[in-house]
Symmetry: C2
Subunit: 341 residues, 2 copies
DNA sequence: CTGAAAGCGCTTACAG
DNA sequence: CTGAAAGCGCTTACAG
């Protein structure tokens, strides 16, 4: 095992290579003009001494850093897992690394974590805002001139760049599938009115049913968090309350998973007694029981695009607000089926 | 929207509060002795001016930081998602934040990312090592006196703390279940010989079968990466090669998912034609088709314990190597069933 | 209990 | 193309 060595600094390299610290810095950053021979000498000195640069010192001096703050509801949700993997890949290709924090639906923690990542000197922040977030809550970053990109959930009337899915269309696609299958009584489970995704997915669903002449009393809506637990409880509650419906639209696949289990616990089998549609099309959805009909929301694209936008903002892009809304696609599987008779 | 303000520094606070910078620093860090009245004055000045401390400057001066590097194979794997959520929660409670990087099975990227997080000044590193990783590959961190904790995959004969599961026992549990169900021909899919998890899970499985008198020619082993794709391909290959077996042990649930789909594409239905056991007991496993029998590997506990260990090391704990191997538990569901006749 | 000053490791005008 | 020196925002002996 190697000895613990003293930290090797730019000035050590400078001495070893017989040049100034300025030249070492220019050489490793590709700035200024450095002759080819000097560059080689510097490189060699670095290798010999085992130099590891200190971004911390560089950040202090320049104000620039290669860290990006990532604030998500819950990294354990596979949607965010896929998102993060894709985001991290794009980021690291450009020499950046993510600092990740879970914030749930907790606005106070969101504010605290924004302050925290700023204190750590991030060059930018991407955030899937907690429900009820208003412009002011993310304001602090602007005061520090740190670019902010929102994703998945949009903050209306804000200057924040946004990348996500057309959530209204998600609900619309689900409703159209159910109408095609001749359903006439419906339930919606999950999604918070206080988040754009919750509001818009439900609205797209309900509006589309209304347009098809379905009256309000044939649609029951259970709003709530995007968790397995909420999906399960809601399913049980609906059955126990003798609510009648044959088609269930879940806010996302995690909720759908909970609901599937909840219905099963009350003897209602998805794909036989009930049709069910989720949202996100998680990789596992195709082997669920039954294989889940779900609306694809392209987590990996969202991650890639979010990375592209934040990097361009970090690099000084001052153009006006950018919003990207991907078109969702419904993937039909065996959890939905036509009503017969 | 607030004006872009100048950065507020400790010396601004000092001026505003009518004290020295030393007093401001002591006041916010709880170091030295500061009178109650002074502390209040300083706090007030910070609030008025909107002070956000700069950890970067503090790190440069003290050498201490509140960032931890997290290197995983793939954050999109729900096992690592659950792990990270739990790890981040425990970490942030102590005022630390994770920098996350995916490294896959790429040793070069692993080395590069270790250097990278060190350059970013992390206080510690936790890593689930790429296959074939040797002590030397993680050595660099020690040279910088940065504590390293390995998880999931163990590097034998190393000084690195380790937290993970008893992988040999995972294989043993799966084998015992199959034997109890009277199977006599077996397949193993996934897991690399060059990683401790791959090697030990397979070994535990095969050893247990041997002990029960099962000859080698009744066990086929398909080693490979822990991916859906490998699971799918292997399943197809096994069927196409007319290999006979009724019981399949998959390295983890992700591989099991791919294998399930692969077998299905060749007309072999898990739970009817074949018994299958996965590893990790992902939250979704209970609603798969069929509900998956899986060995629980306690991702959340692993995350919590990893956080506890790295924090104690950061805080100067110099005691000898710590290894934690959690006992796995088999959760029986409908993907396994007794052979009849 | 408080203040003045040095220094962490970089980068960057500036002068050569 | 290169070098000497200042300074980023903190913390920490040290002197009072």
């Amino acid at each position: 095992m190697a000895k613990h060595r003293q930290k090797v600094t730019v000035s050590d390299i400078a001495k070893r290579a017989g040049v100034s610290t300025a030249t070492v810095s220019n050489s490793m950053n590709g700035t200024g003009r450095v002759s080819e021979t000097t560059r080689v000498k510097v490189k060699q000195a670095m290798d010999e001494l085992g130099f590891v640069r200190d971004y911390t010192a560089a950040k202090l001096r320049t104000g620039r850093s290669r860290l990006v703050g990532v604030l998500v509801q819950d990294i354990a949700n596979p949607f965010y897992g896929e998102f993060s993997a894709s985001f991290e890949a794009a980021l690291s290709q450009e020499g950046y690394l993510p600092i990740i924090a879970n914030i749930g639906e907790n606005k106070e923690r969101q504010s605290a974590m924004i302050a925290e990542v700023i204190a750590h000197g991030v060059a930018g922040i991407i955030v899937s805002p907690s429900s009820n977030t208003e412009v002011d809550d993310l304001e602090r970053a602007f005061a520090h001139e740190i670019p902010v990109v929102t994703f998945v959930r949009e903050i209306e009337n804000s200057d924040f760049d946004f990348v996500g899915i057309d959530d209204y269309r998600c609900g619309e696609l689900a409703a159209k599938q159910f109408l095609k299958d001749s359903h006439s009584q419906f339930a919606v489970i999950g999604g918070l009115e206080s988040s754009s995704t919750g509001r818009l997915r439900a609205k797209g669903f309900v509006d589309t049913l209304h347009k098809a002449g379905i009256p309000d009393h044939c649609i029951v809506v259970k709003q709530g968090p995007q968790s397995r637990g909420f999906g399960r409880e809601s399913a049980v509650d609906l059955v126990d309350a003798h609510t009648t419906f044959t088609a269930v639209f879940c806010h996302n696949d995690i909720v759908a998973m909970g609901a599937t289990a909840g219905f099963l616990s009350r003897g209602r089998v998805i794909g036989e007694d009930l049709s069910l549609i989720g949202c996100d099309n998680l990789p596992e959805a195709c082997i669920w029981n039954p294989p889940l009909t779900s609306v694809e929301t392209f987590s990996r694209f969202v991650g890639k695009i979010a990375a592209d936008i934040i990097i361009s903002r970090i690099n000084g892009d001052k153009s006006k607000r950018r919003t990207v809304r991907l078109k969702p696609e419904l993937i039909e599987r065996q959890s939905t089926f036509p009503v017969t008779g």
